[in-house]
């Protein structure tokens, strides 16, 4: 058994733990910048997971997807978001409506919930329990971040975390979607971040703040 085999096996065995750690850190983080860096680290964990899967299943396509994830989720999107934060020149806090202790409690509960809901699928289809639970936890925590943080940028980060979860669920249950579809999804994601960046700038210019809880009136 070579060194690469061991590394791949260890990555597959422990990346769920790392994803839980990034989720709990995301819940407790108080600054937008920290959240972006954590999202980038989460992308790195997902990349390692794809690489390990690619190695174990000898799939060339998966290597290409890993490369795409590395470029887009670990480097490009965090870089774009950090630049947006720089240019926005607004207060640094995420303005959570829960304290960080409550957020960590809720995230912990969501992680447990995801372990509960995956049980039937794990038994029926013989899938890795930890990874599927991590994927569901990513989706749930992404939603939680979107509803509990008032700063407009955190909605973007929540959505990206959610997308990580969908991606990971596809990877663990079906070894990923075809390469063409993945490329399409990544392109959409990048465009989405561009658009939401523009949108955030518009919110700031119109209202002088980024607090989405104050955006209540519709104009027809």
């Amino acid at each position: 058994m070579g060194l690469v085999d061991i590394a791949a096996a260890k990555t597959l065995a422990s990346s769920a733990v790392f994803i839980f750690i990034t989720l709990l850190l995301l819940a407790s983080a108080k600054r937008t910048r920290t959240c972006i860096v954590l999202f980038s680290m989460q992308g790195a964990v997902v990349t390692a997971q794809i690489l390990a899967t690619a190695y174990v299943h000898r799939s060339a396509e998966a290597y290409a997807i890993a490369f795409l994830v590395l470029v887009i989720k670990v480097l490009a999107i965090p870089y774009l978001l950090l630049r947006i934060v720089d240019r926005l020149n607004m207060p640094r806090e995420v303005k959570a409506s829960t304290t960080s202790a409550q957020s960590v409690f809720i995230t912990a509960a969501l992680i447990l919930l995801s372990f509960l809901v995956v049980q039937p699928y794990v038994r029926a289809f013989n899938i890795d329990e930890d990874m599927l639970a991590a994927a569901i936890a990513l989706v749930l925590t992404g939603c939680f971040l979107m509803v509990s943080r008032k700063k407009a940028l955190m909605q973007v980060i929540g959505l990206l975390v959610l997308e990580n979860g969908v991606f990971l669920a596809a990877l663990t249950s079906t070894f990923g979607m075809p390469l063409v579809i993945e490329i399409g999804i990544f392109f959409d994601l990048l465009m989405g971040v561009f658009l939401m960046g523009l949108f955030v700038f518009r919110i700031r210019d119109t209202f002088d703040h980024l607090d989405v809880s104050k955006l209540r009136r519709l104009r027809g």
């Binding site: 065995a13 409550q102 960590v104 912990a108």
Partner: protein, 312 residues
């Protein structure tokens, strides 16, 4: 031979505690671009204090005199519970991790009594803050230790260390990851470091530990300072023993012991650097934010305990 090593490691924990404190403050000074005092300075301070007269306020009762001695005694007893160089400790067979946690709490209780007995205004204020912090830190400390003990299926620290030593170094368990995060936060609160308390401050609005010891002087103060240095050392040793004990001596050979000592020194140095970096880069929390800080630790430790049932 085993007994000798047990005694040696307990004595090392007690005797080298001021040195660890000195090293941390030296690294901190270097990070902040200062020259910094010698790493041996805590020893000369202790010598100075022991040579001085012990001034007792006229209103104080015997508790004031008794509390530093008791604090020192139970902290030394707690130090004798921690395996350092091999997977066994002097009092390892006498009690489990619950006894360790409450020995530390017992010492803190008497420190608070002494602070209130001194009659100064700051003593009572510091004692009330310390009571708040220690009440909130107790649950995550016990829960995190419980989680680790449940995974190892044994309640004594030496047993947990023995179990961990047989585990695969690379096999990361979620329980341990969560428990080490919770215990690290608790250790910061328990030993009164930034961001919960500032060990160097004398600003009345922020100090916790320092305001409790204001009325103490001479040998009493020396005992309290030494005890708090030992407590920091005990917490560092506890983190190392529970989560990264690899390198401890398994057989009583000269080479094994030398490796154990060298590896342990390296780990302590690494933790000292981490502590200094955190203390230099993080701002002290407002007192009202401390419950939130420890709430995070509490959530992590509860998750750790639940994960012992969920994962494997």
């Amino acid at each position: 031979m085993k007994l000798l090593l047990d005694i040696v490691q307990a004595v090392l924990l007690v005797a080298l505690a001021p040195l660890v404190r000195g090293i941390v403050s030296r690294i901190k000074a270097r990070i902040q671009n200062r020259q910094g005092a010698s790493v041996w300075r805590p020893y000369s301070e202790l010598r100075k204090l022991f040579a001085k007269e012990d001034l007792v306020p006229p209103t104080a009762s015997f508790v004031f005199r008794l509390s530093p001695v008791l604090l020192f005694a139970v902290t030394v007893a707690a130090a004798a519970f921690i395996p350092v160089l091999h997977a066994s400790a002097l009092l390892g067979t006498m009690g489990d991790f619950i006894l360790l946690a409450y020995l530390l709490a017992f010492g803190r209780f008497f420190l608070m009594l002494g602070a209130m007995d001194g009659g100064g205004a700051f003593g009572g204020m510091g004692a009330s803050r310390e009571a708040l912090v220690s009440t909130l830190a107790e649950a995550p400390l016990l829960l995190a230790l419980t989680a680790v003990a449940v995974v190892a299926r044994i309640a004594t620290l030496a047993g947990i260390v023995q179990w961990t030593l047989q585990q695969d170094f690379f096999r990361l368990s979620a329980v341990h990851a969560l428990a080490v995060a919770a215990l690290a936060l608790v250790a910061i609160a328990e030993t009164g470091r930034i961001p919960v308390d500032n060990p160097t401050t004398h600003l009345e609005l922020t100090m916790i530990h320092e305001s409790m010891v204001l009325e103490h002087s001479g040998p009493s103060l020396a005992l309290i300072e030494w005890a708090s240095a030992i407590k920091l050392n005990v917490m560092i040793a506890l983190l190392i023993a529970l989560f990264a004990p690899w390198g401890m001596a398994t057989a009583f050979t000269a080479a094994g012991l030398a490796i154990a000592i060298a590896v342990y020194a390296l780990k302590v140095a690494a933790l000292a650097v981490v502590l200094a970096v955190v203390e230099s880069s993080v701002a002290k929390l407002r007192m009202y934010m401390v419950p939130d800080f420890l709430g995070v630790a509490c959530a992590l430790s509860i998750l750790a305990v639940v994960f012992t049932a969920v994962m494997r």
